[in-house]
């Protein structure tokens, strides 16, 4: 059937455009406005062009924060995804224990971010925290306030504690949808445990894993509250991730221009990486469908 061309149809898109404009485009444009101007407040702007962008792209401060951020997200994904799958595989499939596991797994997800930060901040303290005191008691030198490695370990363990449940629950849902006949067929075909995982469980989990990886990447790449509460970005700048640095720049130093340029690039990086993840994983799926 031939499609009729009627440009009036564009009007039908208008309501969505208006909604999106107010919810996303206009706020974003104010940031764009800040990023190409210099201002000292009072709504007085001086045109700066791409100056802030040039400054930010060559800023070693931003490079370092970006490096730390990439490393952090990579470690988080490398731990939480396999661990989440492993936990999901070992959770009881039904009955009382399955319900209990689900509730326990969901608990960390329900705790507000700053509370998680506070819990770990106190938990890890060497003077009064159970973890800090405990480690000191068995002779391990641990202090997240003045040792960069300890600070990193604390922040990573905290994130794993907080978010692995999400990956596990998503995988668990994927696993539950596998019919019993698949496992029976695998037993009859003498498939090894690894083969069952590789050819039955993993393919069925692919869809939820894509969502899990995307969510965990985006969340970990934007992480702010928890490390801010625990380490405040320190010791030194060792746990200053992108958003912590951004807030320091915008609110602490009131460098609105550079901060705005920074945010736009930050946003584009997340968008780009998410798009790459999504495209690669869905194409993988299509390639296999050939």
């Amino acid at each position: 059937m031939d499609k009729t061309v009627n440009n009036k149809a564009w009007f039908l898109v208008l309501p969505v455009l208006v909604l999106v404009a107010f919810s996303a485009v206009i706020p974003l444009m104010t940031v764009v406005n800040y990023s190409v101007n210099d201002t000292f407040g009072n709504n007085q702007f001086f045109w700066a062009g791409l100056e802030w962008f040039e400054e930010m792209v060559t800023s070693s401060r931003l490079h370092d924060a970006l490096g730390r951020q990439v490393l952090f997200s990579a470690i988080i994904l490398a731990i939480e995804v396999p661990l989440g799958i492993f936990i999901a595989l070992n959770m009881p499939k039904k009955g009382f224990w399955a319900s209990l596991c689900l509730v326990l797994m969901a608990l960390p997800l329900l705790i507000p971010f700053n509370v998680v930060g506070t819990i770990w901040q106190i938990f890890g303290r060497v003077d009064i925290g159970l973890l800090g005191r405990g480690l000191a008691a068995i002779g391990i030198d641990y202090n997240y306030t003045n040792d960069a490695l300890d600070a990193w370990i604390t922040v990573i363990v905290m994130d794993v504690w907080h978010w692995t449940s999400l990956v596990a629950l998503l995988c668990y849902a994927g696993l539950q949808s596998i019919a019993q006949a698949y496992y029976q067929a695998a037993r009859i075909d003498q498939a090894s445990r690894w083969a069952v995982f590789r050819y039955i469980e993993l393919p069925k989990m692919q869809g939820v894993l894509l969502i899990a990886v995307l969510l965990r990447f985006m969340d970990s790449f934007m992480i702010y509250t928890e490390p801010f509460v625990v380490t405040g970005g320190g010791p030194g700048n060792s746990t200053t991730f992108l958003s912590i640095d951004l807030v320091k720049m915008a609110v602490g130093q009131f460098d609105l221009g550079p901060a705005a340029a920074f945010s736009i690039m930050y946003f584009l990086v997340i968008l780009l990486v998410s798009w790459v993840f999504y495209t690669v994983m869905t194409n993988l799926d299509k390639a296999e469908g050939q």
């Binding site: 006949a181 698949y182 067929a185 037993r187 009859i188 075909d189 003498q190 083969a195 296999e288 469908g289």
Partner: protein
């Protein structure tokens, strides 16, 4: 390959079964001959799949033993039993190609590559999927997927038995017939013991040399299609096999005569000892003939023409009674009587067939 023996086998899904009805499978003793083609026939929930899963080792029976040849495999893992099983719904490994799917059971047993390739090609030719070997199994139709499942079931040559659990449920009617014929051909070619579960009597009767009819967790008869038709061992077999099923009439048995509860005498064509319990006679619609001469009076309700013959829905002593009339026989209004073919009348006591001129109540199971 091996003969499969079920010894005092019974199964209950409850940990402490109290009465008979707690058992999904009632105690049974059966021998399944090596190389036989068996059909396991029964209505839903009668224990067919339970029995199949016990044979394949997916389920451990709560009582009794399973023997393959002389070897007790009751506690053996599925893998150790060397059984192939095809399920009701297609089970394929989506991310693998059709070739890898077929080769999977062989690779898991560490066969050599050359043999696997030859064998997979052979099976692919058999199920008509040579052209699709390099495709991923994902995205194929249910038909094609089930064919892969069937192929995977038959790819191993050394299996003790191949079990089919209603494998053609998802297949189109015309393909069903073709695949069933292929299975039968394969059976002749390779001589594997095949056990085919179904609730469709046509499927069972056309596939199997021996049909095993199950009812309420019990094997009520194991016999050739002819035996099931002529001498059903249980009223359920009479009712389930045949279309329409056997007619049953309450009667008192005296020697070689049956005195019907509603009046009338039927010559049984054989002598019977004293019959205790609820006694009935059973006559196939095919063995009852409508006539205008001597016979039992019937009231005709309806005549259905099904092509090859006509089914006459009638009433005898107030109970529904079905007959068939062969093509060409004219039915006239004065044909109000029925005669039974001599020697084709079976006698039942409490639902079980009584063998003539022998001690009564012999359970022919």
């Amino acid at each position: 390959m091996a003969q499969i023996t079920l010894q005092n086998l019974a199964h209950s899904y409850y940990p402490n079964p109290q009465s008979d009805k707690d058992y999904a499978l009632k105690e049974m003793d059966h021998v399944w001959q090596d190389g036989g083609a068996y059909a396991l026939l029964g209505s839903s929930g009668c224990g067919k799949t339970t029995l199949l899963n016990i044979i394949s080792g997916l389920l451990r029976p709560s009582h009794g033993r399973v023997l393959f040849g002389d070897r007790d495999v009751t506690d053996a893992e599925t893998a150790a039993r060397n059984i192939a099983q095809v399920f009701q719904f297609p089970v394929v490994y989506d991310t693998m190609t059709v070739r890898d799917n077929l080769a999977f059971p062989l690779r898991n047993r560490g066969m050599e590559a050359g043999y696997i390739k030859a064998r997979v090609d052979q099976i692919a030719a058999m199920i008509g999927m040579e052209e699709m070997l390099s495709r991923k199994a994902r995205g194929l139709t249910a038909d094609a997927k089930q064919k892969i499942s069937l192929g995977r079931g038959m790819v191993r040559e050394d299996v003790n038995a191949i079990l089919f659990d209603e494998p053609l449920t998802v297949i189109d009617p015309h393909m069903k017939w073709e695949l069933r014929t292929q299975l039968k051909q394969l059976h002749r070619q390779f001589g594997h013991t095949m056990i085919y579960v179904t609730h469709d009597q046509t499927e069972a009767l056309t596939f199997a040399d021996k049909v095993v009819v199950m009812y309420d967790g019990r094997v009520v008869q194991m016999g050739t299609p002819e035996e099931l038709f002529e001498t059903p061992a249980h009223t359920f077999v009479g009712y389930f096999i045949g279309s329409p099923g056997m007619n049953f009439l309450d009667a008192r048995i005296e020697g070689s005569r049956a005195l019907l509860a509603g009046g009338g005498v039927v010559d049984l064509g054989a002598g019977y000892g004293p019959v205790s319990g609820h006694s009935q006679i059973g006559i196939r619609p095919e063995h009852a003939l409508l006539t205008d001469e001597e016979g039992l009076p019937v009231t005709i309700r309806r005549v259905e023409d099904v092509g090859r013959h006509r089914i006459i829905r009638a009433e005898l002593n107030g109970h529904a009674f079905n007959l068939t009339a062969p093509e060409g026989l004219a039915i006239t209004p004065d044909m109000t009587r029925v005669v039974f073919a001599p020697g084709k009348v079976n006698v039942y006591a409490d639902d079980w067939r009584v063998t003539p001129r022998a001690a009564a109540a012999g359970r022919a199971a």
